[in-house]
Symmetry: C2
């Protein structure tokens, strides 16, 4: 799998040369359920190292280098994960890694990020998830650069729309012609969206600070003080009063008028254990093995042994994961229901 | 499940009163594969405590009490298991628990048992597996008593034939009319055998010492010195020279003329993890759980957690067993192939 590469020279920000003050905010609010038991609430998905050697959050930062320096990177995460995130990203100034006192969905997280990262109305701030894979970081940076250039003009929020590779039902879509967002579709609708040229909404959006603040002011005024850095109460009290709402729903869908930069850079949301099928080699019967796995007459399983040896006999399409603390045995088709394991 | 019950009085041997010198030999040569990882080569199936609280081997002995005293019980096992077996059966004289130096199948084990247990040509010796379940021990003892009575007449080897409850393909059968044994059949043949009134061969056979020795002499003369207690070389050297052959094949099938006492006493060979379905309660979706198991939208699984919690999501007909050393995930229909896990 290609890895982000950058020379020391490339670290001098392209943006600086073009006198655009660009900051990148990594949103790292994962709960650790979808890769449980490899990930846990204490070590959520962004800390997974299985995909490409470095943790997903570190890859999310390093693939931006060349467009930003480490000092221009911010992370919004939960307060319990601040220390672990600082250890994972020692080059990022500690003050740039900000803990939310409680979960209030991405609406609050984006507002907090705008408030923290902006150096004035003309700063361009881009938001990126902490737990994605990009197999072609060069094309990724080219797309981000283009989006930043558009955002710097100060008219619109710009989103990166991913060219779909299949009619996914697990992502929202965006219409690149009018910037209208649509929710996760059923299979039939998804096929229609592909025909219409809709793109996947990958949760990456970039805008000038004044544009973000304007959008909050019009569409989600509750969040404006946070985005303006004009909150005086302790953050816990501010958060307590906030609605739990996603930035997509609160701003992008409600306000509309988003510019879309299409991207094709091998994007993957690493949304479930099924990602192991994408990133690991398979044996002759389609099994992925990580750690000591004995596999007899079994097909298309994902076997991840982090404690005792796993032995599979005559089973198919399973995800079997063991850690010293837990054992998961799930049908691959049911990975979207992982949350049900925690509601018991 | 009913448990063997016996009063102190009942321990005074019925056989003694009828002046039949009856000894019971428990054959305990299991390799621990079929219940791996709960059982292991060091703790094979007969030591499992999950079925009825006491280990299977202890149940195998106690259900005979009333017909024999502990002092009349012998165990033939592998030499590595002698100490563990003595600990499990402290009431049985230590000298009665005999270790085979290597595996030579049941032919050699029975010969060794005859040689060890007999007090003379008129002793009646009965052989019983160490790893079966009997839900009605009273009827079991009645059947054994009848078989011992017939055996004491000194004409034939007597076997207990189990009335089949389904057309099993995993057992050999015996024709009760002529005492002819037939090998494990396919499904169609098995149905035919049930119609003809054939019985399951449960590996229990009883004969007078002179009858056993006569049968070895005629049909398996290699084994006669062992059965006569007339070996002078170290047991390892004797065994080294012996063929690997089952008693069924070497004697019962070859010599024929076996008397059959039919039995109906809730017999089960506890042959695989499927036995959990027989002996444990099920939840509303047919799952058996032992230890901490979280089961979500999953049906008809056997979940045995002996270390970390097991979580099942959307899976069916699996056997999932964890110990601190190993994790097994097998399809129920493939439990007959457990050996394949060890040939890798």
């Amino acid at each position: 799998m290609p890895r982000a590469k950058f020379s020391t020279c490339a670290r001098f920000s392209y943006m600086a040369k073009n006198s655009i003050d660009f900051k990148a905010v990594i949103l790292a609010g994962g709960s650790g359920e979808r890769f449980w038991p490899l990930s846990t609430p204490e070590r959520p998905k962004q800390f997974l190292r299985v995909f490409g050697g470095e943790s997903l959050i570190r890859q999310s930062v390093t693939r931006l280098l060349g467009l930003v320096k480490f000092e221009d990177v911010y992370v919004v995460t939960s307060k319990d994960l601040v220390q672990a995130t600082r250890r994972e990203l020692p080059e990022v100034p500690a003050a740039n890694i900000i803990g939310e006192p409680m979960r209030r969905d991405t609406g609050a997280a984006v507002a907090l990020g705008v408030g923290a990262a902006s150096r004035g109305d003309r700063s361009v701030v881009g938001f990126f998830p902490s737990d994605q894979m990009v197999s072609d970081p060069k094309r990724f940076r080219a797309a981000v650069k283009r989006a930043v250039g558009i955002a710097a003009k100060g008219r619109r929020i710009v989103t990166l729309g991913i060219k779909p590779t299949f009619p996914a039902t697990g992502f929202g879509y965006v219409n690149p012609e009018n910037g209208a967002f649509v929710e996760k579709p059923d299979a039939a609708k998804a096929r229609g969206y592909l025909k219409k040229g809709y793109l996947w909404n990958a949760g990456m959006f970039i805008a000038r600070t004044d544009v973000f603040r304007g959008a909050f002011g019009s569409c989600a005024p509750d969040l404006l003080p946070l985005a303006s850095g004009r909150t005086h109460a302790p953050l816990r009290d501010v958060y307590e009063a906030l609605p739990k709402i996603s930035f997509d729903f609160a701003v992008l869908e409600k306000c509309g008028g988003v510019a879309v930069v299409p991207g094709e850079f091998g994007w993957d949301d690493v949304g479930s254990f099924a990602a192991f099928d994408t990133y690991f080699p398979h044996d002759s019967r389609g099994n992925v093995r990580e750690g000591p796995c004995t596999v007899v007459e079994s097909d298309s399983n994902i076997c991840v042994a982090r404690s005792a040896r796993i032995s599979l006999l005559g089973v198919s399409n399973l995800v079997v994961v063991t850690t010293p603390d837990a054992v998961l045995v799930a049908d691959k088709s049911r990975l979207g229901d992982m949350k049900k394991l925690f509601r018991k």
